[in-house]
Homo-oligomer: 333 residues x 4
């Protein structure tokens, strides 16, 4: 029974069906009928004019956005536990041409406006030090916390004041929104975001993420950078179709609700062990090595996050019985 | 009736079926059962030990290989009409960190050993001029010509003599092999190739290409570069499954045969108009603007390659009747 | 007797004196009194407000300018014989982060407006092809031809029309101006230039070139890029002092006049052998291998430019007697 | 009276004389008689075969070395207060093509072997995390501490064990050696160093630093990278001559002794205020804002390092009377 990560789960059947349904001749790259719909569909969803480009990975979405928001000689502010810092093999450095990640601290991998302001203040305004050019946050965070729209707006305000581009890695944005109940618009562009990596793969998609640009003027160079980095698939309709399937009838929200519900079941099993409140589909538990071994012995697979700490991740398709059994096993430790 | 490019055709139904069949939980990235089979399957196919990595585009395959074969301060020799020079948005420069493409001439986008030797000779051996580090050829060429194994071996010999890495962009390798009837082994590593971009997408695949490394020592850094460039999909099994489906029962060869046969039908319709012999699935015809307009008026879509010259491309699934009608229309011009 | 290149000549004694005179404590980097004068002195010289930054090499000046004028995903148009293409070890690719040099043809390494327009027209306006972003010319050209101000203005017009930044590599600008008799202003910004690499080292300087920015808004990022590329010397006053010495009493023009005069003496010795008119301090002569050997046997050193062609370069300090002897030797061939 | 930095001091008269003496025609770039002597002179000095390349800045020396020691997809371990992290405008990212600096902690900007080992241990050995490839230390450190040869050897051992290239930023190496009394050989290659940025500019030089390669196989690519980054001056003899002058009669050691002696005079004035022991020519003092203002009022200029902390730097040519007056002023606070 696998609670290792949501990025290995199956794709939702409707995504597979959408791929099959898209299997006919159309114009190559993003000249097809499916891709043509993305701008409109996402503009409706976000209640504002956006540009939407498909890519195959969150890393590509994140780093294409950062390359447009930060010059090669600038810095991106992010949390020290951010995915772009720890889990993308230095992709931000590659895509930007050598920009620096300037690391912020804060509990639960959450970035606070004060941390941003202080980091900017620490930099001398001269040519010897790399100047901050962009801010990137992850929502839900790497510890499964959801930003409230007001928190993001406060970050957006400091970003604007400091002249920083503002990007959100939303690999698990759906899970965060299900928790906050706030709108996509409030959580993104109304809070000052310039670009959003809107994740679908961890949430029932197969191989398509959406890069949403609230600063639509960035679309032209990002489309070039997408091609230049080998991310412009010739049969792009198969990516667009996946995304459209995820949006139809709010499948993306339904999937996130299912994953979050499973997470809550686990969280309730051992509230005292929780390292952080569970606000998405990740649960971090204080569990000794011995206890971890016992859970593994019982057939559960998960990630050893840190000494005395494990990470469980639930998926949109998490087997209900497995969740109940794991909850019971945790409670029984 | 579309003869614009093979990169927009439908995927073969067995590829779609393979995707559906792979839709269950497995380890993320390339830790799954499908990906695990690639090295073995391709090693059998090539009759030697290879490493095989999936990627989603030919551009990614080409440029990951070139980044491993050419330092940032080196040059890649290629034909002036090569895809990497003309149609990849400068991706080689991006992936290598600024390496130079050093352009060769030659009819039909074919590279001759003498051209390679002369290009090397023209470079002063000092720090002021960029030194050649790799050679990249396209097979079938951008004009649809197929290299014979002996031709590649002659290039491999000069590459070895000059200390050049040797890469093949095989976006239409299947089409070339169907024409030459030569073996994969003879056409690649026995001829001195270090790396091959083995194309499937133009030949009935959906979104998976294979990067084949005959120099298996390159695999480690290329795996890192794949991640770093955002090309390590989390649900990689869906790519591996496509490739396995294409290889099963030699589907890749059957598809190429179908496309090539359609091309021959068109070639026979107007032998005097052929710019080059038709050795793959691309037909370049001398056609006046007026004649091109007439063909378009009759419902045929194609690419205006150059003044007085059009390009037709046939696909694995080309409708036979459409091909016959186009052949007749060309003959009737 | 050396006619190999002007880049190895001695520095003018007044340059050495200026270095000695600058040898006292001042603020580091470019915060000193000498550096502070550059903007003003050059603004006077160019009859318009400019920003002027010292660097130590023409390669640095050229490539810092190009990095500011061309994005990593763009192309710089230049002549196929340009220094940036042939003699800078791929530095433009390094400084720009992988931009492409798009090569133009034309006699004498001169770029014609039509060549620029045609090169732009050849590029499809899509994401697959690298789009031209800048134009760079060399004046005097690599074959020692001087652009007239009107020729540059015609290039400036096409650059503006096509949205290209416009840069001049002026390693031998002084030599060109001495020939044309036209003003610095007419030859540069009035003709549409955005940035100029103003060479001093080949003309009697020691280690200081000036990067002149007519688009003063570029200065901030170029100052950062200068530091980032290791080109911000801590004792910058020694560079600024050299440049100021070269400008004082028009030493730069006097030096160029001396070098050009020596070149004319050589040109007059064998007008029928000239490959190009001599408009600066470089002489290209048709000379057989046998004749070249005889000249070398007589103690003259020079560059074998191409089969049957040699290059002679005169310097500001060329020994008059050596020039006369070489002229006689050439005439006697 | 300036105690701001040693990088703005005058050059030693013998350095100026050497420049004047080198002012005659010779082969360009590094083909001259002065440059030709560097390998031999430094090999003698280091008691082993080395390659020595001149460059104009410490940033260039550091980053050329790091580019050779660390691939674009690797990480350089260094102290969080290292010059390459804080004061080089992200040059390591530029020269390496996007490599990451992985920051270590430790008092006085000193790196301990345990910190290196722990940093390596924290990195998962997979393609998602950037793998350490090199270690860079500064000697004397940014807080003026001198590494003992044994300390460096311990770092060299862990570097070797972990497969890390090992580089020293020796901008103030002379000052450190004067304090430790240990040999150049023991402090560098015998301790496992692969490359050394040997600083002269802060120590009485004008514009020449030496990049010393103990791994002589790196010289070829670094020579190319030097050209490619615009750091190959055409009149290189003027740099080589400066370095030779600094080495002659151990001028570099004499200068460092003078600077260190001045620092000791200041250190003795207020031992209780010292943030760190004074082992080179930098003094960090606990001084309130009010006290700092009083020192400035008395005509002393220095750097506000941190709240309640100032930095004084002495130079080879520090005026003895000014030092005595500052010492008295500090003692009297």
């Amino acid at each position: 029974m696998r609670f290792f990560s949501d990025n290995a789960a199956a794709a939702h059947p409707r995504v597979i069906e959408a791929i099959a349904a898209a299997n006919r001749l159309d114009t190559a790259y993003d000249g097809d009928a499916w891709s043509a719909r993305l701008d409109g569909v996402f503009s409706d969803l976000f209640e504002t004019q956006v540009r939407a480009l498909w890519v195959t990975t969150g890393t590509a979405a994140n780093c294409l956005a950062l390359a447009a928001l930060c010059p090669s000689y600038g810095a991106v502010l992010c949390h020290k536990d951010a995915h772009i810092e720890n889990d993308e093999a230095g992709a931000p450095g590659f895509f930007t041409g050598g920009a620096k990640l300037m690391l912020l601290d804060g509990p639960g991998a959450k970035v606070a406006p004060e941390a941003v302001a202080q980091a900017c203040d620490r930099v001398r305004k001269d040519v010897h030090q790399v100047q901050p050019a962009a801010l990137s946050i992850t929502n839900a965070t790497e510890y499964g916390l959801a930003y409230r729209a007001s928190e993001i707006a406060a970050l957006g305000a400091v970003a604007k004041q400091r002249g920083l581009g503002f990007h959100m890695d939303g690999a698990r944005l759906a899970n965060a929104l299900v928790t906050t109940g706030e709108s996509l618009a409030d959580t993104t562009w109304r809070a000052g975001l310039d670009a959003l990596s809107f994740g679908f793969v961890k949430n029932g998609g197969l191989s398509a993420e959406a890069l949403i640009l609230f600063r639509t003027d960035l679309a032209e160079q990002i489309a070039i950078r997408r091609k230049r980095s080998g991310h412009l698939l010739s049969k792009g309709r198969f990516l667009a179709a996946q995304i459209l399937a995820m949006l139809e009838d709010d499948l993306w929200l339904a999937n996130a609700r299912a994953a979050n519900a499973a997470a809550q079941t686990l969280a309730r099993a051992a509230p005292a062990r929780l390292v952080y409140p569970v606000e998405a589909n990740e649960i971090f538990l204080k569990v000794s090595a011995d206890e971890a071994a016992r859970l593994r012995g019982a057939g559960f697979d998960f990630y050893d996050w840190a000494p005395g700490e494990i990470r469980l991740v639930t998926s949109w398709d998490q087997n209900g019985e497995a969740v109940e059994r794991l909850a019971a096993a945790i409670a029984a430790l």
